[in-house]
Amino acid sequence: MSRERHIIILALLALLPITALAESPTAAALSYTCAGCHGTDGSSVGPSSPSIAGMDPEIFIDAMQDYKVDKRNATIMNRIAKAYSDEQIKGMAWYFAKQKLELLPQSTDTQLVELGTTLHDKYCEKCHEEGGRSGDTGTLAGQWMPYLDYAMEDFIAGRRDYPRKMKRKVDAAIKAEGEQAMPALIHYYGSQHNSAQKEASHE
């Protein structure tokens, strides 16, 4: 082989992307495996698995880390979470945060939605901004209602870390509206798929 050819091969080798030699699959590749439960790119189609597209990455990391150490009540996520490194969890968090949330309509009770609107504005809006849209406190607007129901049960029953401020507000809402309070709020969030989706596509 001529010397020139040697040099050209060397240059072609230099062109090879370094990532091709990396040990871990990319965050995107890891995230594809979640689609079975959480839907394509994190927009869930099954009512018991929450949508995680557009999810705040730090909330995502919190959840995975809590599953990893069995701090959060789980069906299967605790087993899954344990298999991922901190770096992989962070990578997936960033991946899902950038995905567009696709929501499906859910049937809601108009009266409950109305009550839920009032309750949300009074007790929840400051943290769960703009009607509970995806943000630094998670995704409530348009989220699957059965999931929200389980989640709240877990909080109230002490199966999940219950932030002090949240507990105070939830207690106040229940004190004000009794047993209706939680279903009202869940119906309210369930009714938000249109506005949440509109905003999401807007971004």
Binding site: L15, S24, K98
Partner: protein, 662 residues
Amino acid sequence: MNKKIAGPLAWFFLGATLLFLYILPAHSAVEVMTVLGEEAPPGFDPVTGKRVIPTVRCLKCHGDESEQTDVDDDGNEIEIYIPPHKFEDSVHGKRRCAECHANITRVPHRQEPEVVVGCIECHRQTWDANKDKPDNEFKRLGVVIEQIEKYQDSVHARPEDEDDPSVLNAGCYDCHDAHNIGTLGSHQRDEHRLENPEVCGECHRKQRNKYKKSVHGKAVMEDGDSEAAVCSDCHTMHEIDSPEGDKVMLQITTNCGNCHEESRQTYRSSYHGQVNKLGYTHTAKCYDCHGGHNVLAIKDPASAVHEENRLETCRQCHEDAPEGFIGFHPHGNANDFEKYPVMWITAKFMQALIIGILAFFWVHVMLWFYREYQDRKAGKSFAHPKPGDDTVYIRRFTATWRWIHLLFAVSTMILVLSGTTLLFSHTAWASFVMDMLGGPKVEAILHRTAATIWLSVFLVHFFIAMTNIVRNRKTFRWFGPSSMVPNLQDLRDVGAMFSWFFGRRERPSFDRFSYWQKFDYWAPFWGAAVIGFSGLMLFIPTLTASFLPGWVFNIATIVHAEEALLATMFLFTVHFFNSHFRPDRFPMSTIMFTGAVPLEEFKFEHRLEYERLKESGELEKMLVKPPSRTMEKGSQALAAVLIFAGLGLLTLVFIGYMTMPG
């Protein structure tokens, strides 16, 4: 492939690949962070990967006017409200909350925000990064940096408890409302001025309560006048220290004058203020008389300087002050005819005297110099004796007169130095000299000691002169050649000298004392009366004020200073020229120190006396041997020292006079 170009082309290909793929990216300014090929999502810093919390997110809770409190972990109610418009208008309005409250990385925050924000660190870093920028955007930050340095030396930056250096007496945010810091000229500035007494009063309760009742406090706290004096106007903003220290006492006195400018100037022309200006604090300062935090308008009957209370106030320092003290004008102003006509007239009279006398004698000096120089060039003069010459001398002054002159000269110079140090307290040299002397208290002793010597010499001389006259009363001629009393011949001599100056006649001949020597002699009589008497009044103020009104101190101060200036400028210019610097005498004459004058010179300068003595046969009796070499050298050294000292003092006085404020 053409072998000639294949080689270089292959090298170029490799080089370009390495350059674009490996070398350039490594040198690009900022590297974007990735995790397993994933870049940070929106809302996160692409370089650090950290969450960027916008201010609006924080204000969701902290900017809600309807819910201004929250409950902390222990169930205590806490204030959480930050008025959004105030923050947005403030100098920090474009900053994000978490830039200062750096421990907040999530919202809702999982921990209490650190109140200890790194004000100093952040301002210093920002200044270091931007101080060299050509636009003036960060110019004001330079002022902040200066203030930080002052703060760090202040009492506020010291620990409250020596064993616990973490708790300072006061940190930045104890005084500054960090969420509401106004830029120069902003509405916040006025608000802050009005709030200042309350902010300081948070810790300094007692002072606040006194201030509230004062003329300043009422204007600020009752009438909302943001122009009236607040704490920081007197105490400074950041250079705060205990008011027990000299530095603070001086600073506060200066600061009063930032508003009361004329009062500061008139105060500084009084003894109280001169000492203060020199950096000493034992004399009365603004607040010693007017009150500090509880200062009231002079016309207020409760004011410490109200006519009814003034004597008592004076007596805080001048324990035995008699009624007469009330008449003293501590802020008397010789430039203000309306208020202080007597002071004005006195000052103008003294100034006219200075100008008149100096104008006459300086013209006299210049003309004399010109004519004598011309004469000397033309050989119309006497020759100075050369060393080894067997020159004949004549006795002119006895030892007594020589000693009297020397004591007079030395004590005068001490008086000039110590006196002008006060008079020109505004100069840098005055502070230096005062420190060298050991402070105003030592200076006062020095001045009074020198004055006592001076007056004693004057009186001793007067006594001897009178004794001589009485002893020779039968033969003493009041208008004779040995008398100092001016006569008609002196007047004729003045005319003759001016004729000579203009080349209209030969140099006139003189008898024992010429008219300028007589002037030199009589000037101290007037000086002794004016300076001595005024000085004595200021020396014993209690006695003076027991039979004279207090305003005589104002007059005495003017007269004493102006007359002393006249004497200084006359002695160290005119007298020095007449005796030492004119061409016949240059660089000096030692006659006053050796007492003897070469006969040739005597003949030239006092031809009439020479002829008279020769005729009467007295001349032979007065002839003496030349002064010894030691005497001659010693006299020269002494004369040189005195001349240089005199010129030095003249320079200091000149500097002081030319830079006199007002």
